[in-house]
């Protein structure tokens, strides 16, 4: 009699408590799901200790960020003053006929940059991002820039193409954009060098 009662007791706990226990755990886990997607109000996501520590960390992040910006500006002003600065940028437009792997830059016949793109970076270029592949210094006057692009061209074939430009470096900073775009009429990629002052 006694053992039967215990058995029933266990059964009721197993059949009711068991699922309910998991259900509670499940519902508790579902709220962070929402928090990840849209950001839940602060009061719903964490305890006091978490919030105070979190606030401290966020404030610290902001300070580090400001400091980083200052360091970034200092670095550029110190190493690449505006009157001698030259920067080379890579951009892509559409990219149906060319998948970029790498870019090599030669300035006055000297290789100054050789950059291999990750798929993630190539995707960022396709979305409209522009990559500064090189920054350096040049004296005023005439210079020759050669850009070599490698990647996959139409029909997934290995593709290698160069573009040359003579640039006149003046007193201000000089920006060169290496623009890869599609020439739809010929189903071929096109490599254009654009000079910005």
């Amino acid at each position: 009699m006694n053992s039967e009662r215990i058995r029933v007791g266990i059964m009721s706990r197993m059949s009711i408590f068991g699922p309910v226990f998991v259900l509670i755990a499940l519902l508790a886990a579902s709220m962070p799901l929402f928090a990840q997607e849209a950001g839940a109000p602060a009061t719903n996501v964490a305890g006091e200790e978490f919030r105070s520590l979190d606030q401290e960390v966020q404030a610290l992040k902001k300070e580090v960020l400001d400091l980083n910006r200052e360091l970034f500006v200092l670095e550029e002003e110190l190493l690449f003053p505006a009157n001698t600065q030259v920067a080379v940028f890579v951009s892509m437009d559409v990219g149906e006929f060319f998948a970029l792997d790498s870019v090599t830059i030669k300035l006055d016949n000297k290789e100054v940059a050789n950059y291999l793109y990750t798929p993630r970076e190539a995707e960022a270029l396709l979305k409209g991002g522009v990559h500064r592949v090189y920054i350096g210094n040049l004296k005023a006057g005439e210079h020759e820039l050669i850009a070599l692009f490698t990647g996959q061209g139409p029909n997934a074939r290995d593709y290698r193409r160069g573009a040359t430009v003579t640039l006149e470096k003046g007193v201000g900073a000089k920006y060169i954009e290496l623009k890869i775009s599609d020439r739809a009429a010929r189903a071929q990629p096109e490599f254009v060098v654009k000079q910005w002052d």
Binding site: N2, S15, P32, E76
Partner: protein
């Protein structure tokens, strides 16, 4: 240089910010295409704006923010000033800097800003208010949006509105918002599905099961073209399945639980639930199938642990006493072993080793980071780490800890750079000191005033030649020599006897020579005059350039030391800031580490507690079986059916 610091979590919160980078025209194209942003060309008018986007599109928000700030400092975003501010606000929001983000968005709420930008500013402001739990203000901000937002922001806006209303307790309004909104034709309704799921769960909590079931059931049957949607669909089915179990409707429970994918993250709980549904209908043999499958899985999972008890319970119900005893014993052994492993883990975490393994293997890559956590070595301190990530608090804390550590690395790299900058400045200083005397010598040799006087003199001479029509003045050196000779001969002949026939003949020849030379001078005068003017102009240009350069060199000579000193001061000023911030980062990381250890231990202790409870239940059950066996002697023994 700044490493990639923001992890997947914040990336999700910012996913829709991509639309910020779009101009109105591009956004409308995006609306019509799928997927929305990939491959969409950007109308970038400032190269440095494109550079910001390059990092933004890689989810490297801190790098994007640093470059955005620097580009603004250099005034390089003139064509994208408003968009840049909007993006900056969004990026600050992702960093948890609500005040800064709110300040930026508010500055964009004026009539000088295009409507689409203002709308987006209202939207992000609503997000700021929402995250700070100012729900009424969030609702007001959302109501201020006129027309539709571009791209994925529009569904997210509806989700946000529904969530705000849900937290305000206005469930009916929240549901109405969702019903009002229809996704664009041909596009999946991801945002709405998330919202329906969240509201469904909230309704369950409020005891409004019927309404909750409608929402969860709909989400549980949506088309799932991606893993993300499939996971959400599983969660909805699971939640609804357990609602039905709780309501004692096992048949309905089983139907929805069987929709959950067998290998997905929710499959353990679903298998457990399916077993309970069969069990509730007293079909214990059927219940054993999912539970036995479940027991083969990782014992860290609560559902798996529960299956260890459910299996012998089913055997006991089937009067298979021997198997029940065996499986209860098995459960006790498994729980004891697991509890001991948790003890080891707690001890390892207490010794401060919890997070070392993560940071040692962290390359700073945003994307792969969470996945790497799954593959940590099976050491006591890391065994439960991935499991702990299921808790939001731990996840956020871990993200903060990682950010702090990466920032420390980053500042350490800058510290080295600053030493290099310092050396560089020193070298420049010394090089300047060495070159100054030489430079001075060159400058002293050149007198720009004297050059200018000579130039003026030349101008006057040419003007006089022009005025007097002095064609001989522009003769070449050889012609001038000949001209001088003719003049000299004329002078000599003027003193000679005019009646001498030889003199007469000589005079005639000289006259011819003079005429010839004058003819040459006159005929080339125009060309020579033009050439002289041209040369004068070129001289002017060269003289002006020479003077400009002279002034520049002179100014540089004066300013260079001051500029070098300013750089030096900046470096000197930045060095202690780096040191102070590094120390603060280290202290904060330590606090974060301690805090995470606390959470981890708390979680592990709770798991131990659960194991202890399960062990207790197993012992009770065993005792009950033994008790029954001894009172029913002579025993015949049980067998499985």
């Amino acid at each position: 240089m700044m490493s990639k610091l923001i992890s997947k979590h914040t990336r999700l919160a910012l996913a829709a910010l991509g639309a910020i980078a779009l101009t109105g025209t591009v956004a409308s194209v995006v609306n019509a295409s799928e997927p929305p942003l990939v491959g969409t060309p950007q109308a970038v008018k400032d190269l440095h704006w494109g550079e910001v986007l390059f990092y933004f599109y890689q989810d490297d928000y801190l790098q994007a923010l640093i470059r955005l700030g620097a580009a603004q400092d250099f005034n390089r975003l003139t064509h994208h000033a408003v968009e840049a501010e909007l993006l900056k606000g969004g990026l600050y929001l992702s960093l948890g800097q609500h005040e800064e983000a709110g300040r930026i968005f508010k500055t964009l709420l004026n009539d000088n800003v295009p409507l689409d930008v203002r709308n987006r500013a209202w939207f992000y402001l609503a997000k700021v208010w929402y995250q700070r739990n100012y729900l009424d203000q969030a609702a007001t901000a959302l109501a201020s949006i006129r027309g539709a937002l571009p791209g994925d922001l529009e569904p997210e806006r509806h989700l946000l509105e529904a969530q705000v209303l849900m937290y305000l307790g206005r469930y009916d309004d929240a549901i109405r918002v969702l019903e009002r909104w229809q996704p664009a034709k041909g596009r999946s309704d991801v945002w709405s599905a998330y919202a329906r799921f969240n509201i469904g769960v909230a309704l369950v909590r409020n005891g409004r099961t019927g309404e909750a079931a409608k929402l969860l059931d709909a989400v549980g049957q949506i088309r799932a073209p991606t893993q993300e949607i499939a996971a959400l669909r599983d969660k909805a089915n699971l939640a609804l399945g357990y609602v039905w179990l709780k309501e004692n409707r096992p048949n309905e429970a089983k139907t929805v639980l069987q929709r959950v994918r067998l290998q997905g993250p929710q499959s353990n709980k679903a298998l457990l639930g399916v077993g309970w549904a069969d069990s509730a209908e007293r079909r214990f043999t059927k219940a054993l199938a999912p539970w036995l499958e479940l027991r083969e899985r990782n014992v860290l999972d609560a559902a798996v642990q529960e299956s260890y008890l459910a299996i012998p319970y089913a055997y006991a119900q089937l009067d298979a006493t021997q198997q029940a005893v065996e499986h209860y014993t098995l459960a006790l052994d498994a729980f004891t072993a697991e509890s001991q492993r948790i003890d080891q883990s707690i001890a390892a975490i207490r010794s401060g080793r919890l997070l070392d393994a993560i940071m040692d293997n962290d390359s700073g890559d945003n994307v792969g980071w969470y996945w790497q956590l799954q593959n940590l070595p099976d050491a006591p301190e890391t065994r439960y780490l991935y499991h702990l990530l299921a808790t939001h608090e731990f996840q956020e804390g871990l993200k903060n800890y990682r950010d702090l550590k990466l920032m420390q690395r980053d500042l350490a790299a800058w510290e080295l750079s600053l030493i290099a900058f310092d050396d560089m400045i020193d070298t420049r200083r010394r090089a300047f000191a060495q070159r100054t005397p030489l430079m001075q010598e060159v400058l002293d040799r050149v007198d720009p005033d004297q050059l200018e006087a000579q130039q003026r003199d030349l101008e006057l001479r040419i003007a006089a030649i022009q005025r007097d029509g002095d064609v001989a003045a522009l003769a070449t050196a050889r012609e001038r020599e000949q001209w001088e000779k003719v003049l000299r001969i004329e002078q000599v002949l003027s003193r000679a006897d005019p009646n001498d026939p030889l003199v007469t003949e000589m005079r005639e020849k000289v006259r011819l020579l003079r005429g010839r030379l004058l003819w040459d001078f006159s005929s080339s005068y125009k060309a020579r005059q033009w050439k002289a003017q041209k040369e004068l102009r070129e001289l002017n240009v060269a003289a002006t350039e020479a003077r400009r350069r002279w002034v520049l060199v002179e100014r540089a000579r004066e300013e260079y030391p001051a500029r070098t000193e300013r750089f030096s001061q900046r470096v000197t000023h930045l060095q202690p800031r780096i040191a102070t911030l590094s120390a603060r980062l280290a202290a904060a990381a330590e606090s974060q580490n301690r805090y995470l250890a606390q959470i981890a231990i708390r979680e592990l202790e709770a798991q131990q507690q659960r194991l202890a409870e399960y062990s207790l239940q197993a012992r009770f059950a065993l005792a009950s079986i033994y008790d029954r066996a001894s009172s029913a002697a002579p025993a015949t023994g049980g067998g499985a059916q």
